[in-house]
């Protein structure tokens, strides 16, 4: 048996033996994506069911029989808001915006006085402010109905109110529209791979040195390159395992979606899972090599953790690039590891194709990083042996 494979098997057994760490990694990283997806769907579902209930919460509806009649004709149910609605809205204990009608509403309407009707919500109260737009549209319907009738009664045609027809065109495909909700999923998958590889990478390098088992290992007759390849293989395998698990986890996660709309829009099947893996596997390999290269220089596990924190932070900040960048995808992005992978996975979710450059460049970068990392670790081991 090749010595590299013996090292690989030993390192993998070691990593898998630490059940607790493994379980924590699995729970936190692999389940995180699906959990976020399900939480998102619950959020959308409550929003949808609130819209379906067709309720409007009002103070002073007794002053506005005409408006009440309009709301009932739109098949809305009028609910009286409690007197302390302001405090409750502020304290996030009330989830609906409140419509406040002044006492002189009806007289103002007949006198052409344009009475003031307020829609009260709290922009810090997500649920209430989310429904405020819907309630405003409903009330604008009342305005439109009155205005149209007033003009018609003066003998003015309805076309004159809107001299042009305004139409909206959305170029996005169905799948692309879904990514407005599911855009953060690639980010969670990448974090999962990162954390999956992180522990093993630190343990096999700085950890080994801290435990004092590095020197005896180097005294083995095995070639140094076998040692490095075996260790890297084990770390990369773990990262890839996490990548496989988290990519596949979205397939069953769809069954748990509470919002029918999100479930219909989120188009994630075997094709998407396999494309995710094609993106993630080289990335896991490169990431493992880089993490090991950073950690090998450190004397203790703790020091290695501190050094790799920069890397972790860098990958965590990457989604911000996509948010802040207004110019769309740029060629340089394909050269930045992690950012390129994230952009590729977003394209997969959108159902878009790739150009050769978009596939080859990130792959070349990953292979390059892997080779550089492995060579560097190998050199450091030699130095460690002399030291």
């Amino acid at each position: 048996m090749h010595p590299a494979f013996i090292v690989y098997r030993k390192e993998l057994t070691d990593a898998l033996r630490d059940r607790r760490t493994l379980l924590v990694v699995l729970m936190s990283s692999v389940l995180l994506g699906p959990l976020v997806l399900v939480a998102l769907s619950v959020f959308i579902a409550t929003f949808e069911s609130r819209a379906e209930q067709r309720e409007v919460h009002v103070v002073g509806i007794e002053h506005a029989p005409t408006l009440a009649n309009f709301l009932e004709r739109q098949t809305y149910t009028i609910k009286k808001a409690p007197p302390d609605y302001e405090q409750r809205l502020r304290a996030q204990k009330y989830a609906d915006p409140v419509v406040v009608i002044p006492p002189d509403f009806e007289a103002g309407l007949v006198n052409g006085d344009a009475p003031i009707v307020e829609v009260i919500s709290d922009s810090a109260n997500r649920q209430a402010s989310g429904s405020a737009g819907r309630i405003q549209r409903l009330l604008r319907g009342f305005n439109r109905e009155r205005a149209t009738l007033h003009l018609a009664m003066r003998g003015v045609a309805a076309e004159l109110v809107e001299p042009m027809q305004l139409e909206e065109r959305d170029l996005a495909s169905t799948q692309t529209r879904a990514t407005q909700f599911t855009g953060m999923l690639p980010f969670f998958v990448m974090l999962a791979v990162l954390y999956g590889a992180l522990n093993a990478a630190l343990d096999t390098t700085a950890g080994e040195r801290e435990r004092g088992s590095l020197e005896p290992l180097l005294m083995n007759p095995a070639e140094r390159v076998s040692l490095v390849l075996g260790k890297w293989g084990a770390v990369a395998s773990l990262g890839m395992l996490i990548a496989v698990l988290s990519s596949l986890s979205f397939i069953p996660a769809q069954w748990l979606l509470r919002s029918d709309t999100l479930a219909a829009m989120f188009q994630y099947g075997w094709r998407e899972a396999l494309l995710f893996l094609a993106v993630l596997l080289p990335f896991a390999a490169a990431l493992s090599a880089v993490l090991m290269a950073v950690a090998i220089r450190c004397k203790s596990f703790k020091e290695a953790q501190a050094s790799t924190a920069v890397l972790v932070l860098g990958i965590s900040m990457l989604p911000l690039v996509q948010i802040f960048q207004q110019t769309g995808e740029e060629p340089w992005q394909w050269w930045v590891p992690a950012l390129a992978q994230q952009t590729l996975m977003t394209r997969v979710l959108r159902g878009e194709g790739f150009s050769v450059e978009q596939v080859v460049v990130p792959l070349v970068v990953c292979v390059g990083l892997s080779v550089m990392g492995i060579v560097f670790v190998g050199r450091m081991l030699r130095v460690a042996a002399v030291r």
């Binding site: 067709r54 029989p65 009932e72 809305y76 007033h150 018609a152 003066r154 045609a157 219909a264 188009q267």
Partner: protein, 480 residues
């Protein structure tokens, strides 16, 4: 064996999918935000001559959002007769938002409408007021239009009946490769839906028919009876409201004063027009707003003004309904259908003409239909057989064209699988009322037929009558 059958079904579905991929292609429809699929299908103009002149039936598929969609699409049947289903798609799509998650929505331009061998006459929307409502002008215009249409390659007007059109629809269904469809029909679309399920009962999964216009209703005759009933309901409701208590007197006074010379500002151009106001014009102008209770609520004030010589409010109110572009009707198709299916039975109609609305309207149709080529209509067309699949019937209590009495009769004929929901204060079309999109979704989406028929539609029965329109009144100057 079941495994084998499943495999065969899969192969068939794959084939159907391939066929569909070929026949429909991505396209844009004005007013629809996202890309949709367009298709067309060649059909013989005369079903008895398959190799004779062909026409293209155009349709639009709004694809379901989900990748794993249900196999039965929802098919929208437009009203009129003469409306283009594709042209009204932008207005009705919001109704289908939830259904569209998992089902395709299909809009087929019935032959004679929209892009499918259209039988359009000149657009009379922006005419002088006097022309718009002058029966003689209409008769002449339509006679001219008929002659022009008959010169078209597809101008044999005998082949535009509902029966033939529904055979086109079934051909579209087969081209799309779907085993069954869910039908949603409004107004004349209900007659189309009833005819489709009479001819192809096995191809229908659920139907929703709103504002039921059955084949046997003899439209020109029932129009007067039902219009009168809706107007009388308005008068009755006004008795309890001080704002419009004088409606009956105003109305009698107005009708007694006709014909009379008036000068009216045109609603669109703002130019004054002088003409003789006739009874036909007034009845026509009153009939329009009755379709929509919110507009009908302003009728008492408009009639009050007209009785005092100001005709603008009535003209303006009427322009609210007739003006929209998408609602335009292919008049050639309209008369081809009505002259073949309704007009021949006018003499047998038992509906008494309304006291005010009279028989003028029926006479107008009779005059036009006298020269209109008449398609063959089988006796079976007028019979409504028991439904093979659940049917939800909707009626507005104050609808001036398709009130609940027609829905009731059809529900009885359809039998145990029919459910009739009446919204007492709704006008023509109940389906557009706020909560109905959810009712529609639950009725179509229910897996079980019983569950579908038990759908809760109470929300529309509670809809109130709008209060009568009150004009803006300026406060009197305070006494010094």
């Amino acid at each position: 064996m079941p495994a084998l059958r499943a495999l065969a079904t899969c192969a068939l579905l794959a084939f159907a999918f391939c066929a569909q991929a070929k026949v429909v292609e991505p396209c844009r429809v004005p007013g629809i935000k996202n890309e949709v699929l367009c298709g067309k299908l060649a059909r013989p103009l005369d079903p008895a001559a398959p190799n004779g002149p062909q026409i293209d039936i155009h349709y639009v598929v709004v694809p379901a959002l989900a990748r794993n969609k249900h196999p039965d699409p929802v098919v929208m049947l437009a009203g009129g007769p003469g409306q283009s289903a594709i042209r009204i798609a932008p207005q009705v799509l919001p109704l289908f938002t939830r259904l569209n998650n998992r089902r395709d929505i299909v809009f087929v331009d019935q032959r004679g409408t929209g892009k499918s061998a259209p039988l359009d006459c000149d657009d009379l929307r922006h005419r002088p007021l006097a022309d718009e409502a002058d029966p003689q002008f209409q008769v002449t215009q339509l006679a001219r239009c008929r002659e022009q249409l008959q010169k078209l390659p597809h101008g044999d007007l005998r082949f535009y009946t509902t029966t033939i059109a529904m055979q086109d629809l079934d051909a579209v269904r087969r081209q799309l490769g779907v085993p069954r469809v869910n039908l949603v029909g409004v107004s004349y679309g209900t007659r189309a839906a009833l005819e489709y399920q009479r001819q192809f009962p096995a191809a229908v999964r659920r139907s929703v028919i709103d504002g039921v216009a059955p084949p046997d209703m003899v439209l020109p005759a029932s129009f007067s009876t039902d219009g009168q009933a809706a107007f009388d309901a308005l008068v009755a409701a006004c008795r309890t409201e001080p704002v419009c208590a004088t409606l009956r007197d105003d109305w009698t006074g107005l009708l007694a004063s006709l014909p009379k010379p008036v000068t009216v500002i045109h609603p669109l151009s703002g130019q004054p027009e002088s003409f003789t106001l006739t009874r036909d014009m007034v009845l026509g102008a009153v009939r329009g707003p009755l379709y929509l209770p919110a507009a009908a609520a302003a009728l008492p004030q408009a009639i009050h003004a007209a009785a005092r010589g100001r005709y603008e409010p009535l003209a303006g109110l009427n322009s609210l309904l007739g003006g929209r572009k998408g609602m335009a009707i292919s008049m050639g198709m309209h008369f081809s259908v009505v002259c073949a299916e309704d007009a021949p039975r006018l003499s047998q109609a038992t509906d008494p003409p309304g006291a005010d609305f009279g028989a003028d309207f029926a006479r107008l149709y009779q005059r036009i239909c006298a020269d209109w080529p008449r398609g063959a209509v089988a006796d079976d067309f007028y019979r409504v057989p028991p439904a093979a699949s659940p049917v939800l019937l909707l009626s507005g209590g104050v609808d001036p064209v398709t009130p609940p009495r027609h829905g009731e009769r059809v529900a009885k004929a359809l039998g145990a699988r029919a459910r009739h929901v009446v919204a007492p204060n709704a006008g023509h079309s109940v389906i557009g009322l706020g909560c109905m999109s959810d009712v529609l979704f639950r009725f179509v989406d229910a897996v079980d037929d019983h569950e579908a028929l038990a759908v809760d539609a109470d929300c529309v029965t509670r809809v109130p009558r709008p209060p009568s329109y009150r004009p803006i009144t300026l406060p009197r100057e305070p006494a010094q």
